[in-house]
Subunit: 646 residues, 2 copies
């Protein structure tokens, strides 16, 4: 066994001969960024060997340059330990994860979006009556002649004073009942789930009148990040917000990598534990503490997420999601006990998850369609959720067609060498000077740049394309006289957005040809998915009346730039609207409204899913779309026009 | 702190000044019999101080003689520790508990009783269709075109091939589903609970066809002992039987003592743990192992017991059961997850408890009425369950009237100095020679006598009364020349059933005047309850067509002797029938039949409960009944006749 020391933590673990640095770091509890979960394909797990360079047997790769190697950098997942060693994990890696712990709601913080969503729901006749409600009752006091049980006394009162004729309760309610009911002389408040028109399930009993205290939580569980609202169910007011990275990220950046991890020994439990104990519970705690609420105050949780996230949340084996014919174990679930999953809430608190449509169109999309009001539109709407992967819905009140494209995590900064989420320190806007080719960048929170987020990458690529820094294949121009364009020993080019000397940062922030290739493939996947979806309906782009953009791609997305690179169809910008985290907004509506929940179930069951991999035209469309903006320039008339001007 | 050593275990614990020997023994995990749970009233916790007599500060009581004290005996609960000490706990105490671990079904082992119960149920149109059933299905294999989720595939099959239109499942079913369903190519067997005419809840999924393997357990949870059947639900066959003492006994012999214990710190959890982990789970394990079944093979458990036992089983605070106006927290419960209580069964296995009627008429009585067929009788039936306490039902198919009498544990040997349950070593029959006044005794399993059980005490008292050894007040005759009658220093008399020299046993087995007083009070409570019940209907004894006797009082009860002492009304013995453990038999029926369950719920809700303590005539009746057989001899014409003959 060899000693592996990690600095600056000074954590030492023992490793066996041949174990990778990546495994050793995981054992030590040190976070090493690894979107590919140790497969050697992403190049993100660079670490610096400080002592014992001879004790590492590393594999070369295009992710690592000779200069890197000279400085001691290796890829942790491609480096086998053969002796004692001291390793430094670059701070930027750590911060990429920790900065995700700060709030960042991708536009859902915008009160106008929330207000709009609520008004839209009301317009569409969604009533706000939460599935979990409270009722206060003053019971008859028991006597020798009226000696029915405590529970029967409650039932009798309910049957007499409500329209419900089926009343049940959970075991922990019975356990509390005798003392709670007597604490304030048979005056109690029940919390209950409305199961259907005639039946309720009591989930809590409290002494006295507590009808003004009823709280729920809406959560969007994204592959990359998780965001939540704590809601006062009496008023609908959002009392607290919280978000963080999904702690599952240590097991890989995308759903496929996570699914593969779930098939390993204890993998599924590790993933479930990461999302529940290390992600959701801390968010719940943070919000509760802000409001001085206890665990028991949370009566209901509504969650939305992609189908894989929902499998991992419930601890259901997800491996068949990724194997043809791509079958999920479940799409919908009844209300289940939150405590059964280890969520920190009252023992009988309920969890509802938004219904999914298929293996790759999840409850987050159902929630987004619900929140957007698409389901009630007369006009044709194209809805695009661009986060980790992309999902697309096209339709109106009469039909809903959906598909998923394997765009990967590029829109959220994944698979991009300097990529990061749209949080503090991310470059979110880029403009390149036509003459000097120097960039002007805007950084979230106006601090030193840490990396670049989705909207920044779109800007950068659009500007590089406009200024001729790159060509339509995403290759750098070798004939431009600027130190910002340079080529490494493997002849891979990059454009420097921020020199370390300029900003006093540890490393240059660049966009490499590999980044460009990855991003162009991602945008090509989205564009071609839209094309196939429209084709299948026999509708062309002019048939799109509105385009709603949602998801982690970021608030500050520049629609013109996104059209320029061929991510979105070339349509007037007035038709575009950014919805923010529509998954969270849909969860919020479902938390507040039974109508909304039933509507969500209707939406999920009525959506027609198109499996792109089974569509013969998709591959052709995809290949044509892997250019800036597209091989068929006539599909992008305004971009053609711009190029002429430049 | 002082050292307290218990022999022969050689267990040493530390005790504080003033701590009782009883508490020290409990801390050491040493079983000390104590029906009163340390209140000093039962006199059963005699222990012998071997070393350090001066280090015990003990209270004198009529339970302990000077001879006892000279030998070192003290009552553990009345003895405070003031220094180091070595104590011996008499073996007979331990064995009283451990012998209860052997089988002893109080007649339910009798195949004729079981056969009779089943035939009776069939005659009364009870169909045997278990609430938990299995179904085998061969599902369509999924394809890209038929890519619904695994769970939706199962639902689709059920909706197409059955009359059910509502299908739900538990979380652990979903978790297993993806792998189980593929293990044998989408051929699976579902285990499900029939919730109502149109809805089922799936509780297990297995690969392939396992429809011939479906098992359930019926349990009677008595205050003193617990008995169970493991049943093949396909055939109804009882595959295994097991019984043992209720491990709660260490917290007191009767329900009141246990309720008081439940109000102490951790008391409720200790009681719940004792019945589940230390009593029921070992019984389940024993039966499963006999049949080579796993935990997962147990799909459903049906339990019956008195109302306190049901509160303690579910962990519900029972204190208000004993406080006027005697209100239970609940009487009925839906099917609940057995695993939620820590019962060793499949994660989604269900527990159903027979509905109770009131605080002191529990699900055991509902089960007994169900099994006895009383609810379908044209004739008037008096049903008496005599175990720890006594419950009485009078009625027929048109009405059911019930009451509970606080008879205490005397019928099961409790509160009797040499009393024990009807198990190995118990004196179960006694005849006294008219001339020599020597007893002829019969002992269960023909071994050395350990004590005397309910039926033995009844015989002994009847014979002592017939032979003039005692008078109608239960006092010993001071003028009879026999060494079997003797008086102690407090002038309390006793009759020796077995001299230690005769049988080579550690102590004489006697019946004392205190035992007689206790037993007469118990039988008086039962007889007077019957009297009040009949009075309230305006019916006299001649209106009783049949008498069913059930419960721990024992198979070998001599009806004539029971009439002689005035326990039962003086009616022809042909009218009496012993039903054995009718609570267990009722559980068994409920396990096998939805009809039976619905009938049990109907019985419980239709039974009219008479609260004796609120009845003005009860006290008078009770006082008159505390004589042998009764103050009004004309109520016992055959006994009057016997006395004349003798």
């Amino acid at each position: 066994m060899f000693k592996v020391k990690f600095v600056p933590e000074n954590t030492v673990v023992l490793a066996k001969l041949g174990e990778t640095l990546f495994d050793a770091a995981r054992k030590a509890g040190i976070y090493v960024d690894s979107p590919c979960n140790g497969l050697g394909s992403c190049g993100k797990c660079k670490v610096k060997v400080l002592k014992g360079k001879g004790n590492v047997n590393f594999r070369k790769s295009h992710h690592i340059t000779t200069a890197d190697i000279d400085q001691g950098y290796v890829l942790a997942c491609c480096s086998k330990i053969t002796g004692d060693i001291t390793v430094e994990v670059p701070r930027s890696q750590e911060s990429a994860f920790t900065t995700m712990k700060v709030e960042g709601f991708e536009g859902t913080n915008d009160p106008d979006i929330l207000k709009g969503i609520i008004e839209l729901a009301e317009t569409n006749r969604i009533q706000f009556d939460s599935p979990v409600q409270k009722t206060y009752m003053e019971l008859d006091l028991p006597t020798l002649d009226d000696n029915i049980s405590d529970w029967d006394r409650i039932k009798r009162h309910l049957l007499k004073n409500s329209d419900f004729n089926e009343v049940s309760c959970g075991l922990s309610v019975l356990k509390l009942l005798p003392q709670i009911i007597r604490h304030k002389d048979f005056k109690v408040t029940l919390t209950y789930l409305v199961e259907n028109d005639h039946g309720i399930r009591v989930i809590n009993v409290e002494s006295g009148d507590t009808t003004d205290r009823l709280y729920g939580v809406a959560i969007d569980i994204g592959t990359t990040s998780v965001a939540a609202f704590l809601v006062d169910l009496c008023t609908g007011k959002i009392l607290a917000k919280a978000s963080s990275g999904n702690a599952q990220i240590k097991y890989g950046a995308d759903v496929i990598t996570r699914i593969i991890h779930s098939t390993r020994k204890n993998g599924l439990q590790e993933l479930q534990h990461a999302v529940i104990n290390d992600t959701i519970n801390p968010l719940l705690n943070k919000m509760r503490k802000e409001l001085h609420l206890s665990n028991n105050d949370i009566s209901v949780i509504v969650a939305s997420g992609n189908t894989t996230m929902m499998h991992l949340l419930l601890g259901v084996y997800p491996d068949y999601l990724r194997r043809e014919p791509y079958i999920p174990a479940f799409l919908t679930s009844e209300f289940i006990k939150a405590s059964e999953l280890g969520l920190k809430a009252h023992a009988e608190s309920l969890l509802y998850i938004l219904p999914s449509v298929s293996s790759y169109v999840g409850g987050d999309i159902t929630a987004g369609v619900l929140a957007s009001g698409l389901w009630a539109e007369d006009q044709n709407v194209l809805f695009m959720d661009l986060g980790t992967n992309g999902e697309i819905v096209f339709g109106n009140k009469d039909f809903l067609l959906t598909c998923a494209c394997s765009a990967g995590p590029a829109f959220e900064g994944g698979e991009i060498s300097s990529g990061m989420r749209a949080s503090s320190g991310a470059i979110e806007n880029v403009r390149i000077d036509r003459r000097t080719l120097d960039p002007a960048i805007e950084i979230i929170d106006n601090q030193k740049p840490l990396g670049i987020c989705g909207s920044g990458i779109i800007d950068a690529i659009a500007e590089m394309y406009r200024t001729g820094v790159i060509d339509s294949r995403g290759k750098l121009n070798r004939n431009m006289a600027t130190p910002r364009i340079r080529f490494d020993e493997y002849d891979i080019g990059e454009y420097v957005l921020a020199f370390k000397e300029e900003w006093q940062i540890p490393n240059d922030i660049t966009i490499t040809e590999i980044d460009l290739e990855n991003f162009i493939r991602a945008k090509g996947a989205v564009y071609s998915a839209v094309a196939v979806l429209l084709n299948s309906m026999g509708i062309d782009y002019s048939g799109i009346d509105k385009i709603y953009i949602a998801g982690g791609i970021g608030t500050n997305i520049d629609m013109v730039n996104a059209i320029t690179i061929g991510l979105f169809p070339d349509l007037p910008v007035e038709k575009f609207k950014y919805l923010g985290n529509s998954s969270l907004l849909g969860s919020y509506l479902t938390l507040r409204s039974q109508d909304a929940r039933l509507k969500a179930e209707e939406i999920a069951s009525q959506m027609t899913y198109l499996e792109l991999s089974a569509d013969s035209s998709y591959m052709g469309e995809f290949i044509s779309a892997c250019f800036l903006p597209h091989t068929e320039m006539e599909r992008f008339p305004t971009v053609k026009e711009q190029r002429k001007i430049v």
